[in-house]
Subunit: 248 residues, 2 copies
Amino acid sequence: MVSRSQPTRARSPEAKRAREAAILDAAARLATVNGIRAVTLTDIAAEVGLHKSAMLRYFETREEIFLRLAAAGWVEWSREVRERLAALAPGAGGGDGGDSAHAANGADPEPGPRAAAGLLAETLVARPLFCDLLAHTPMTLEHNVSLDSVRSFKVIAIAEVVAVGEALRRVVALTPAQAGDVVATATAMAGALWQMAAPGTALRRLYESDPDLAHAVVDVAPRLTGILSALLRGYGADGAGRPADQVE
Amino acid sequence: MVSRSQPTRARSPEAKRAREAAILDAAARLATVNGIRAVTLTDIAAEVGLHKSAMLRYFETREEIFLRLAAAGWVEWSREVRERLAALAPGAGGGDGGDSAHAANGADPEPGPRAAAGLLAETLVARPLFCDLLAHTPMTLEHNVSLDSVRSFKVIAIAEVVAVGEALRRVVALTPAQAGDVVATATAMAGALWQMAAPGTALRRLYESDPDLAHAVVDVAPRLTGILSALLRGYGADGAGRPADQVE
């Protein structure tokens, strides 16, 4: 009611949250189409139908908006990857992830590491905006935002790394530190490979058109799957011969 | 002689190269102290004693300068890592990297993969400016530069990835594609981990001061060594049972 006198301002907490969600949705739409790099605060304001100065009541910078999207991306990716990992775990009936002692043997190819690697790569590649956010987060997003925003983002991202790591450890024999490094490698390499491969960029066109570079065009999903599969099997080989209770 | 009438312009090819080298050295010095992100074209001009407009005769943008430094960084890192890998290779007398068939067995820990992983990580961590350049290259440097500059950089970087990959394959049983992925992972993760860990940044101080984040402070060298060691051993395990002539 109060807001009627100032129609552009969302006064109630619910209205404020709805406005924030509309801004985040608009930013996600624009970034999905054009890439994060190209999206300005003015673009987002225009997309959501607000003046730029009104936007600043909700988010201080474009980086703060993309950091919030990155946090949401971590939560959403983590939920799907954990559900799908749970279906691979022993006793889930969905597959033969193998018990830890067996997976740690490393003597012959185990389906657990390969399936987990494929699942990590596939769920990341299916989320091009999240890959773009992963590539931008360390380089840009942590610099034009308040330390409070960075802290909120980091606490969420670290919690999801731990949660995905725990789900991985039910499928492949890993220490908690190894599981965290697998998740860090998966997400960092997804961002890096996606940056090299993003279709429609001048860089991609250069690669495709130049005989010296055409062979370097990156096909993200199989490459990331290969790297993560080897990483997981390597950790399994590291654990060979250790008593199962030390693989903690 | 001709240049006397215009003392700020380097006329001869030699003088032009010397001026370019002075600009690159100045940029490297400033970036080593302050980080690439903080260094502007004006800063570099001041450090080398040129007016900014005179700088533009040699380099169009700060990104072009850093892309040239990145190319030089690839060449320099590649040379050292290949020399040190050669000392690990069978017959070099310096170690027991193992022949390919043995390294591919994967049944018990081989010194080749661990030594190669440690060497890759150690040589990268010893080059903080190169790590900073590696983190910035895909995100920033390929955007404010001409496609010709990007092409020159890419041709150099890809050649060094191939060269380091070939040196790796004399120490660890890898296909050429696997060797390339090891080098890509080593350099991308060195850039990513270095960004997370760069001392003196606001982010690092936040991590160190916050009880919820302190455990996430990254110690780059051991973490990168662990990831690369597992990756190399995993590829070795992948190759188990293949005839040696198929591991090409």
